[in-house]
């Protein structure tokens, strides 16, 4: 069977290189995510976090919650996940995170959206192919209430010849 020459198909590139980030710049991240009981049960069990606050509805209710408390590590991973295409998908190591505060609990059915601001973008003397970018990321529930915020720092690859920013 004939097949087309796939090397001629233009790449629908994703991600941003270091040069695309300027201090103060803001991003409203794509998609949003409703976290469900299933997400939480899968995440908690796969990460060995069997705490009844996260996995036993009646226990969580007896503690004063309307339902199980979604594992905050799942909340954090999801918020970072939503931000990856805008911030770090182009490549570069995840260096660290500071001042992550869980402001309120998340329950099954709650919907998260996320946004970030560039706090700092600087070149790296030891790594000519990458810069170091720090973002402040905030996530909100469907009521517009702040759920979590943190600062994240990554290496971000610098633009290579012939590669444009997505």
């Amino acid at each position: 069977m004939d097949q087309p020459d796939f090397s001629t198909f233009p790449l629908a590139r994703k991600g941003r290189s270091f040069e695309a980030f300027a201090e103060g710049q803001g991003y409203q991240h794509h998609w949003g995510r409703t976290l469900t009981d299933g997400d939480n049960a899968l995440f908690c069990t796969a990460t060995c976090n069997w705490n009844p606050m996260h996995l036993n509805t009646e226990y969580a209710r007896a503690q004063g919650h309307p339902d199980v408390v979604i594992n905050p590590m799942l909340v954090l991973c999801t918020v970072i996940g939503l931000s990856v295409e805008d911030l770090s998908e182009a490549g570069g190591l995840f260096l660290g995170m500071e001042d992550c505060i869980f402001h309120r609990s998340v329950h099954p059915g709650d919907t998260l959206t996320a946004r970030s601001t560039v706090l700092e973008a600087r070149t790296s003397s030891s790594r000519p192919n990458a810069g170091i970018v720090t973002w402040h990321t905030e996530a909100f529930n469907q009521h517009g209430e702040l759920v979590v915020d943190f600062r994240r720092t990554n290496l971000v690859v610098r633009r290579r010849r012939g590669i444009e920013d997505g």
Binding site: T47, C48, A62, I80, L82, G96, C100
Partner: protein, 159 residues
């Protein structure tokens, strides 16, 4: 439904002292479910975590790279029974660092030290700050973080 007996009679605020160390009993091997599945579950679009072919010849090591926050989540998970069995809430994380790449097939162990206890204003709970280390099967630290947890006090936690 009776709730006493569902959680251990340990892990209350009063049970933690600064300097206390714990080597958590269970380790966990990171593979398809932990990294590939969870990275996509949490919408992490970076294919380095779930496209084996894209990582051929990577300077970070062959094969899919484990998402750092999945590593951190497993390190916290392995520590959770000993540090959050009687928690009121997780308050936050700080100083999260990733020291070495983790790949599929690596096994993580979790180590903890209590670095601060804060009685706080109320008499129902208190805050404990833990430092956690994630260590691989070779004994190398791959991740470290600090974590603040609000814990019940023993006298109000035994209803």
């Amino acid at each position: 439904m009776t709730f006493s007996g569902l959680t251990a009679d340990s892990g209350y605020f009063e049970d933690f002292q600064v300097g206390q160390r714990m080597r958590h009993y269970r380790g966990a091997t990171i593979d398809e479910v932990e990294n590939n599945c969870l990275s996509k579950l949490v919408m992490n679009t970076a294919q380095a975590h779930w496209n084996e072919d894209s990582m051929a010849g990577s300077p970070l090591g062959e094969g899919r790279l484990v998402f750092g926050l999945i590593t951190a989540s497993v390190v916290v998970g392995l520590a959770s029974q000993d540090t959050a069995e009687n928690a009121v809430a997780d308050l936050g994380l700080d100083k999260v660092r990733f020291a070495k790449p983790v790949h599929h097939g690596d096994t993580l162990y979790s180590y903890t030290e209590v670095i601060a206890v804060d009685e706080g204003p109320g008499d129902e709970s208190g805050e404990v700050r833990f430092k956690h280390w994630g260590v691989n099967q070779h004994g190398d630290v791959v991740c470290e973080l600090e974590r603040r947890v609000l814990l019940k006090r023993r006298r109000t936690g035994t209803e």
